[in-house]
Point group: C2
Chain length 412, copies 2
């Protein structure tokens, strides 16, 4: 497949590379190269012409809750723990009803498919049947995803609480078995967060050989609670580390208040941080020290965290991350240089994407995940460079700029 | 005119009132009442049916720069003073060219007309001819606006600098004279901010009997600079106060770092604060202490501050104000309770609107400025109350929900 257009990709963590009117060649879903002049050997292949459009790598949403899509943009008046008890747990309890799940997950999958995300790491609920249904819908959507049936066996309403660790593990095994049939949607272990999971459940989950997603250090009361629940753990991160749940296949959402020791653990284990800037503002959690994580070469990506975050667009996550990093510099640490647009774009594409392998750049050897963007409806009075057009899309059109979407070389 | 629909308006600073399936009667642009059962005397009038829609008061953008619309969403990497010198002043210099102004202001007026704002207080540039052209376009748009030709006679590039105070005043008189022909668009004195205006210019402006708009205490370096420029002023606010520029017809944008004495001045004089949450984040200015202003009954409204703010939607300003107030509570003052959605909605409608008189509520005696909102394209899995539908529109559809718009009883 050959595509003629304008391309923008991250070249490094803090710089963008543009290719104006170039040819991108993709073979079996993998990018073979981007050329100003099409090499002779490709001359007979058909060219898809996206002149005047802008093509960027698809984005990876590293942390999103599928069952919470149904109450996005509502209930913005509480902090984390109260928010979970008041809005989230009652809503997630409804997914025991497969008809409700069908309706709600259809709406979520449709929205995710139309969004700027080509890949995502998704929390479902504790329910096996609804989770498999969600995975089936996602598998068919063409998106590439990890989905987790949530584990929780304490501190939650009866309707969501697995009665003991062994039951939770049995459910997990059964779910993994059922999920083995999917091609584009893979299971990821999902202990909700330490307050929801007993130590023995964590230990048992640590024996699986699967990727992991969970929460870490989002909110001050949560952190305090974890220290009460796990008095023998060295810190919050240690509640996962000692259960063998940290590593380069593990994603920790938020990390707003990590201590130096926890940051060292994240780095040592090559774990991923999912930065959720809008959610951290909406739930009054705070602002994560992203400059520090970036400069320390910790694996980090961006996420919407629906419904803590109200918006499913990763463009919005990009501009929110920039804005929040400025307030962090102003209000928390004046030495923490704000994120540039290029850096935030990197986090949403290559940063998050690397969790899936060679994903998130338009570069030889990478999967061709891409968004074809149309900004013709934006009135630009002045001539703009390609990167300016992209920045303006991020601030103004967000996902409404999407003209076409490719995942692994396939138009979805 | 009679409209049948669902109505939501502020009842007080922190509560919303809803009218489900009611009749609103409007006579000569003024609301006569909202009725469950239409009174006999109106029975013969024609009814406009907006069933299933939601009607809210039109919003007033209390601070927006028309010439900066052309670079909205670009140049987000600098703080105020560098941002002015690098992006803003070069762009504003172009409005000396009336052809450029024509093109750029057409685009701005079209955008404002399609936005959630029914009224606005607008900065133009220092140029009389372009400013009159802008006012002419706005006058014809049906929106009700104040527009200011900017005064600036120091610390700016030659292309924008009026050579002395008297020249600036002469230009101002000439502009006011030319603007007297407009009906919906009125002149407002606009000394850019203290660093741009000499003391004598301020004094001379204070002798006009017109409303005033300017900036106050946006950025730490700016505040430091003002104290150097005006060593004899008691504080930044005093540079306006001593020139007779404060009062209930004066708007001060930002007020991020006002001291107790300045806050006292703002309150004493019944001056207005224009809160610009997104701009204050984008330019790394900080977060204004809105809870404090609200609780002290200071006149305050919301604003987009294009292009410090990237988005022209007042819905976005509402949700940004809520989010920023949460971060203020978390990072600056734990006693400052975050804004509720109802409070932020109040700021955007009744708070800002009161600068124009009885504007910003759907209540007997108020101007019928209104937005008819259509949220049918939002998939709502659960039944939602009217106020939930409104909150979701604010977070998800923003101005894209606008189905029709009324100003002073006229559909525009």
């Amino acid at each position: 497949m050959i595509i003629y257009s304008n391309f923008i990709t991250s070249e490094s963590k803090d710089s963008l590379k543009t290719y104006e009117n170039h040819y991108l060649v993709c073979e079996n879903g993998i990018i073979s190269g981007i050329f100003k002049v099409l090499p002779e050997k490709y001359k007979n292949l058909q060219i898809t012409d996206y002149s005047n459009k802008i093509i960027i790598p698809g984005m990876t949403d590293l942390h999103i809750h599928a069952p919470q899509y149904s109450f996005r943009g509502l209930g913005m008046d509480l902090e984390l723990i109260d928010w979970l008890n008041t809005y989230t747990f009652p809503e997630e309890s409804k997914y025991n009803d497969i008809e409700y799940a069908q309706k709600a997950y259809s709406s979520f999958v449709k929205a995710l498919k139309n969004s700027s995300s080509t890949r995502a790491c998704i929390f479902a609920t504790v329910h096996n049947e609804a989770t498999i249904m969600l995975m089936d819908m996602l598998d068919k959507s063409g998106l590439i995803t990890f989905v987790g049936k949530v584990n929780m066996n304490r501190n939650c309403p009866k309707s969501l609480c697995e009665i003991d660790a062994q039951t939770s593990i049995d459910n997990t095994r059964e779910w993994i078995e059922s999920a083995s049939k999917f091609k584009n949607c893979k299971p990821i272990l999902t202990p909700r967060f330490t307050p929801s999971c007993t130590d023995d459940l964590m230990q048992m989950l640590g024996k699986f050989n699967l990727p992991v997603q969970t929460h870490l250090s989002e909110n001050l009361s949560e952190i305090e609670w974890v220290s009460e629940l796990c008095p023998d753990a060295e810190n919050y991160a240690d509640t996962y580390y000692r259960a063998n749940l940290m590593g380069n296949n593990s994603i920790f959402a938020h990390c707003v208040y990590c201590t130096p020791k926890e940051i060292e653990l994240l780095k040592q284990t090559n774990s991923y941080i999912a930065h959720c800037p809008q959610s951290n503002a909406n739930l009054a959690s705070g602002i994560a020290p992203i400059r520090h994580y970036l400069d320390n070469d910790i694996n980090i990506g961006l996420a919407t965290d629906i419904a803590g975050g109200a918006n499913i667009s990763m463009f919005r996550a990009i501009t929110d991350a920039v804005a929040m990093s400025k307030l962090y510099m102003r209000l928390v640490d004046e030495n923490a240089k704000p994120l540039s647009f290029a850096e935030s774009f990197y986090l949403a594409t290559a940063g998050s994407g690397s969790f899936f392998g060679k994903v998130g750049k338009l570069e030889k050897g990478f999967s061709f995940d891409a968004l074809v963007l149309d900004d013709s409806k934006l009135e630009n009075i002045n001539d703009l460079q390609l990167t300016d057009r992209l920045e303006r899309i991020a601030y103004h059109l967000e996902d409404r700029a999407i003209y076409a979407k490719y995942v692994n070389g396939i138009k979805i």
